[in-house]
Subunit: 344 residues, 2 copies
DNA sequence: GTGAAAGCGCTAACAG
DNA sequence: CTGTTAGCGCTTTCAC
């Protein structure tokens, strides 16, 4: 009676159905043809025993884990967590499990590499990790499926980036339309392409209008919540503060909002502030935040699709640049403020 | 030269070091004593070949995957994503990988069960899934390590809940201190213990002051962002609207804030609003949100600790109730509003 | 159609 | 101290 101790194996099923394990394997994988009656018996046994093949044993035999790895900087950033949702749902729908690891940027960059060498995953999605193409050489050389998000590695590894440059231009154009001329930038870091490209978009638009960003209008946070506060204060303390501030992401833009408010400034009347990402927070601040939307969920979905395709049909590198969308709200000065009468 | 095709196995290392695979296994696992010189050779070979044991093979042999599974309702909720961070960091620090799956509440509740039967994980952390004790019977009976967060299953499975009842009382007392008497509640659902316990706390405190919540002051959202808006409108449309609104979580409280503002009401002057969770958003709204903090990261950490302990020393059920903390901000009427002068 | 047997890469007795 | 060998649970030729 009490067999409970150990797991139900394919042998148990075979015994119960009075066949060999190879036949059980056959019906499980639907490969060869099996006599209908035998199939019946086996399927019945499977159900009765509640049998589930061991992913480990199967993985070892097939050299496939049906698991994909996701390495992300920080699950806490709403922008990334939305992306994780896209990754998870897509992988799950395809019958894949998701192994997730958070890797601080400066860490030994081998963590994801290990997931591969240990055969834990069939493919890898790397998000905004600051990896170089050379870090991926071994993986790519062995034909291991990898996709990167928010990191532009050129051609031969599937890459999904948003049009950061274009997004920067969108915002810049819009600020210029409002008549702002003195525009400052709160960078996310000094080495992240995303931050740099957004800045480049801003700069190019300004340049086309014979404007430029003075050095002291360039300050830097670290993309994380809270990190936009001090830089904003620096800007406000300048002899001639900017008329508008463009933060490299929404979290920092919200910090800027807070800093401005604490200084007694009204946004956008005294100073305009815009962000990037369109996280949920951007719709809940006062004033609501004008920003650029990135298709986070979509990027996650595409990356998984790419990895899955690569692990089936062989590698098919591609580089997809996703479009951004300007989300006009109150903080740029566009919409009338709701609620608290501003003129009072 | 070109061996690149296949993975580096323990045999390769053995051959290179001119020993048997068992000796390699020994030094890798540091079990038996091995001659220093041999050890040297083997370690050198490992490095030279860049050898990493296959997690699959090792798992199959040991019946341990060094992976733990996390099943969570929704990674997108900042409260949960902070918890995920706690789980991930703790697991990683202990050398464990994290398999993550999101499971909608109403779904076939067998998803996590499968992770176990397929031997994909050594343990499971279940977050706010609405599981019953009976759903876990098979796992518990087999001594499989499970911990649940934000779901009270009684004694014999490690449980980590926050003191929802106490948190509800904290907020209720505070609202009463402000002099509010007509208090409404926006529930997260009608069947979630978390939401029910918070309400119970509120009710008990009111009852102690001979107050009660009229039926039309009880409305319901679904905990998710956006779901507090309509319920709040219902409250505001009442012949006699409440003086204060207690939302079961911050996301809904923020929706309530928005709804009130769109109706031209000033918070907290015309109506007070409080939430629960203390997500980052609560510090960025206008007015900032008075709420109750839950130790999300901590809960994640504790759950992993419990699972890991159980998978080593055998099961050690416990039930931990974590304390909550009242975070007093502006939306209750306590602090002076910053920035936009409210008296003007 | 179905079974026997050889791996997949590793660990763990059991001998030397 | 170190090598031999038998599994772990499954897939997959190769025979029958």
């Amino acid at each position: 009676m009490e067999r409970a101790k150990t797991r139900v194996t394919i042998d148990d099923v075979a015994k119960r159905a009075k066949v060999s394990i190879s036949t059980v394997s056959r019906v499980l994988n639907g490969l060869d043809r099996v006599h209908p009656a035998t199939r019946q018996r086996i399927q019945a046994a499977v159900v009765e025993l509640g049998y589930q093949p061991s992913a480990l044993a199967r993985g070892l035999a097939l050299n496939r884990t049906h698991t994909i790895g996701l390495i992300v900087l920080n699950v806490t950033d709403p922008f990334f967590s939305e992306m994780v949702r896209g990754v998870e749902e897509t992988a799950a729908a395809a019958g894949y499990s998701l192994l997730i690891a958070c890797q601080p940027r400066q860490a030994e960059e081998r963590r994801y590499h290990q997931l591969f060498t240990e055969s834990r995953v069939d493919g890898l999605v790397l998000v905004a990790l600051g990896v170089q193409r050379s870090d991926l050489d071994q993986l790519v050389a062995r034909g291991f499926p990898v996709a990167v998000i928010q990191e532009d590695l050129g051609g031969d590894v599937p890459t999904f980036v948003v049009d950061n440059y274009g997004g920067g231009r969108l915002l810049a154009d819009h600020l210029l339309d409002h008549g702002y001329r003195r525009i400052a930038y709160i960078a996310g870091s000094n080495y992240t392409p995303a931050s740099a490209d957004r800045l480049r978009g801003l700069r190019d638009v300004l340049a086309a209008h014979d404007l430029r960003i003075p050095d002291d209008y360039l300050v830097c946070g670290n993309f994380m919540s809270g990190s936009g506060y001090e830089p904003m204060l620096q800007l406000l303390d300048l002899p001639q503060p900017p008329e508008a501030v463009f933060a490299a992401n929404d979290q920092m833009a919200c910090d800027a909002l807070r800093a401005a408010r604490e200084r007694g400034l009204r946004v956008p009347d005294d100073i305009a502030i815009v962000g990037f990402d369109d996280i949920i927070l951007a719709s809940y601040t006062t004033p609501t935040l004008t920003t650029v939307r990135q298709p986070a969920y979509e990027m996650g979905r595409l990356a998984i699709d790419a990895v899955l395709a690569a692990s089936t049909n062989g590698p098919q590198p591609q580089r997809v640049v996703l479009p951004t969308e300007l989300m006009i709200r109150e903080s740029c000065g566009c919409l009338p403020q709701r609620g608290t009468a501003k003129g009072a």
